[in-house]
Amino acid sequence: MAPEMISAPVSRRRVLQLLGGALAAGTLAACGDSSGGGGGGGLKVIGAGSQEAGLRKALDEYKLQNGSFEFNLSFSPADQLQTSLRAQLAAGNAPDLHAVYPGNGSAMSMVQLSKAGLLADLSDQSWTQKIPSGFKGAYQQDGKTYIFSPGTSVLGAIYNKKAFAQAGVGVPTTWSELLAVCEALKKKGIVPLALGAQTPWVTQLIDYALVPGTVYAQQPDFDDKMAAGSATFAGSGWADAMEKYLELQRRGYFNDNPNGTTYEQATSMVGTGKAAMAVQVSAVLQAYREAAPSPDDLGMFPFPATDNVADNWIPGGIVVGIAISAKSKKADEARKFVEFCATPATMNAWAEAVACVPLYAEGEAKVDPVLKPFLPNLAGNKAVPFMDQRWPNAEVQPTHFAVVQELLGGRTTVDAALKKMDEAYRKTA
C-alpha cells in the first residue's frame, strides 16, 4: 500500500489541502500552547548569577501562591550580562523581566537603560515610597523608579577562621593591625590575601574596600564634587587607597602572580585555608562556603583602610536588581511579581538567600550572621554605595579594572592610573 501512495501523482489541489492541514495544525498547536502555558510559555526571566538563590526562591513562592503563573528562568554570569542581555535588548527581543545593575556606571545599569527607554517605570508601586533617601540614586532616575533590588551587599574581607587560629591572630580593626595580621600569617606560610586579579571585576574590590575610608570619610560629597568637576581621582584619597593596594603586594601579602590567578582559584585558596583572606562582596559568600570543608570556617569583617577606627567606613552597595522591559507584553504579570518581591517577607527571604541586608524590614531583619560586624556601619551612616554606581558612564569601571592590572604588573604608576580614570570619567555618557 505504501509504495502506491508514494508513487501516486500529487495534484496541486492535494498539495493545497495538505498545506491547509499543516497550517490548521500549527494554529491549533499555538492555541494549545497559549492556553496551557498561561500566556505563551510564561514570563521570560533572565537573572544575574549572583542573585540566583534569591530570585528563584521568590519565583517559586509566587508560583505556589498563584497556580496559573508560569515562568521561564535562566541566568547569566556577571561578565555575560553585558553581552548576551544587551544583544537581546538591542535586537528588541528582551526578556519580560531581567537583571539590571543599580545606579549608573555600567552598560547594563539602570540609568543607562532607562535613558534608552528600555525599562518600565515602577513608580506607581507602593514599596517605592520606602526606598531610603540615601539609596534613591541606585533605584531612581529623574525621580522615577526603574529597578527592584532586595537590598545591600557589603564588601569586606572573607576570612578562614582556622587559618587565623593557626597563626594566632584575630580580626584587625585598623590598617596597621591588618598589616601585622598579614605578617603573622605570612610567617606561618599562609598566603595572607588571595587575589584573583585575572578576573576583571575582582581587581576593583580592594580599592572599593579602602576608598570609603581614604576618600568618603573625609569627603562624603566626593561624588558630587566629581560630577561638578571640582575633584579628580588623581587628587583625592584614591591615590592613598591605590598606594595601600600596592603596599600589600610589595610586602608579599598576595598569592604569587595575582594577574594570572582567577576568581575561582582565589576562592578555593581561602576555602581550603591555603590563603587566609580575600576581599570580596558578601554576595559570593556561598561560593566560598562551597569551597570550604565546613561553611562555618568562614567569617567576614570590614576591611580597615586607616588607623582611625572611626574613619573606617564600609562599601555597601545595592545588589543587582530586576527590571521590567518597557516592551514586555506581559508587563502586568511582571509588575505583580515585582510587587510580591517587595513585600517584607519575600524580600527578607531573598536577602537572606544571597547574604545581603534587606532594603527595609518589618521588625528586625534576618541576616546572615557573618554580616553582623557590618551592621553598625550601615546603621551609623558609615556606608558608601559601590563607587561605580555613581560614575557617569560605562567606561570608568573597565578602565579601573585595566589600570589595576597594569599596577599589579608594574606597568604604570598610581598617578598615571588615576589620570586615565579621570580621562574616562570626563568622557560623555
Binding site: 553585558q82 537603560l113 604569587d256 602572580n257 594570572g260 558612564n393 585595566a402 604588573g409
Partner: protein, 312 residues
C-alpha cells in the same frame, strides 16, 4: 546527371548559449537568484545597515541615535587603546603566520612519509583543530596556571627547570605570546593538512629524476617541493593572516584583553566598545576600519603570492 539534391537547409540555428571556457553550458544567471537573495538578506543587508551605525553615536540599545559624520573615525585615530591594540594585533599576526605555517610545513613533511603510523600521526596533529577554540582556551588556562605546582610550571619544576617558571597569562609582556602559542598549537594542524595536500600533488617522477642527478634532500626540497607548494603557501598565509588579524575568541577566553591592555586586539577593542562601554557607533567604526584593513592586507598578499606562483 542527376542533380544532386540540394542539401536540406540547415535547421534554424539554435539561440547562442553562453559556453563556459572549460566547455559545457553555463547555467542561466537567474539560477543564482535564490542564493543571492538569501545572501543579501542575511549578509549584505545587516552588514550595510551595521556599517551605517559607524556614522552615529548609537549606544547599541534604544532608539536614540544621531548622525555624527566622521567623528568616530577621528576619535579612532587618537585612541591610545585602539592603537595599542593595532600593534598587538600585528605582532600576533606575524607570529601566527610565520610560526604556525612553519610548524605546519614541518609537520606535513614529517607525516608525508611511508611509515606505518603516518595516518595516526596525522589524526593526532589535526585533532586540536576540531576542538572548539573556547574549550582549547580553557584547557590552556589550566596549563598556564601561575602556581609553581600546577600546569606547565609543575612540569618545568619536575624537569629541574624551575627557574623558567612564569606567570604565563598574568605577566603583561608574556601574556600575548602565551595566547599566540595556544593559537599556533591549535591551528598548526590545519596548516599541515593544506601543505599535505600540496605535497601529495608533487610528482614523484621529479624527485626520482633529481635523485638520479644526485640532488640531496635539501636541494630537492628547495628546487622541487617548495616551488610546487606555492599554491598551498598562498592559501595558508592568507587564512592565517585573516585569522590573526581578527583573533578574538582565544583572547577573550584566556585574558579578556588583560593584564591591563596588554593582549587587547582590534577585535576585543571593538567588542568592548560595543558591549562593555555601550558605544556601538564607535565600535562599528573600528569594525569597519578593521574590515577594510584585512581586505587591503589580503589583497596585497594574494597579489604578491599569486605572482610568485606563476613564476615558480
Amino acid at each position: 546527371m542527376t542533380a544532386v539534391a540540394a542539401p536540406p537547409a540547415p535547421p534554424e540555428a539554435p539561440p547562442v548559449r553562453r559556453v563556459r571556457r572549460g566547455g559545457g553550458l553555463a547555467p542561466p544567471w537567474w539560477f543564482a537568484v535564490p542564493a543571492l537573495a538569501v545572501y543579501a538578506l542575511v549578509m549584505l543587508y545587516p552588514s550595510i545597515a551595521g556599517a551605517a551605525s559607524a556614522f552615529t553615536d548609537w549606544s547599541g540599545v534604544g532608539e536614540q541615535r544621531s548622525f555624527v559624520g566622521l567623528d568616530n573615525f577621528q576619535q579612532l585615530l587618537q585612541d591610545d587603546q585602539a592603537l595599542g591594540a593595532l600593534r598587538s594585533t600585528l605582532l600576533l599576526t606575524v607570529a601566527i603566520v610565520v610560526v604556525q605555517n612553519g610548524l605546519g610545513l614541518l609537520l606535513a613533511l614529517g607525516v608525508h612519509t611511508t611509515i606505518k603510523s603516518r595516518m595516526l600521526l596525522r589524526v593526532i596533529f589535526f585533532a586540536p583543530v576540531v576542538v572548539s577554540p573556547v574549550m582549547v582556551s580553557f584547557l590552556w588556562k589550566y596549563v598556564y596556571n601561575p602556581a609553581p605546582d600546577a600546569g606547565l610550571n609543575a612540569v618545568l619544576g619536575a624537569l629541574g627547570l624551575g627557574s623558567l617558571r612564569q606567570d604565563w597569562l598574568g605577566d603583561p609582556s608574556l601574556a600575548i605570546w602565551s595566547v599566540a602559542f595556544t593559537v599556533i598549537w591549535q591551528c598548526a594542524g590545519y596548516s599541515m593538512v593544506i601543505f599535505l595536500a600540496g605535497l601529495e600533488g608533487v610528482p614523484k617522477e621529479l624527485h626520482e629524476s633529481a635523485m638520479v642527478d644526485g640532488a640531496g634532500t635539501v636541494a630537492r626540497f628547495r628546487h622541487i617541493t617548495w616551488p610546487l607548494l606555492a599554491p598551498a603557501v598562498t592559501i595558508n598565509v592568507m587564512l592565517s593572516t585573516v585569522g590573526g588579524l581578527t583573533l578574538f575568541t582565544q583572547i577573550i577566553a584566556m585574558t579578556n584583553g588583560g593584564p591591563g591592555y596588554a593582549t587587547d586586539t582590534l577585535s576585543t577593542v571593538l567588542y568592548k566598545q560595543a558591549f562593555v562601554f555601550g558605544k556601538f557607533g564607535y565600535s562599528t567604526a573600528v569594525a569597519l576600519v578593521l574590515a577594510l584593513f584585512v581586505a587591503a592586507v589580503s589583497f596585497v598578499q594574494i597579489a604578491y603570492l599569486r605572482s610568485r606562483e606563476t613564476t615558480a
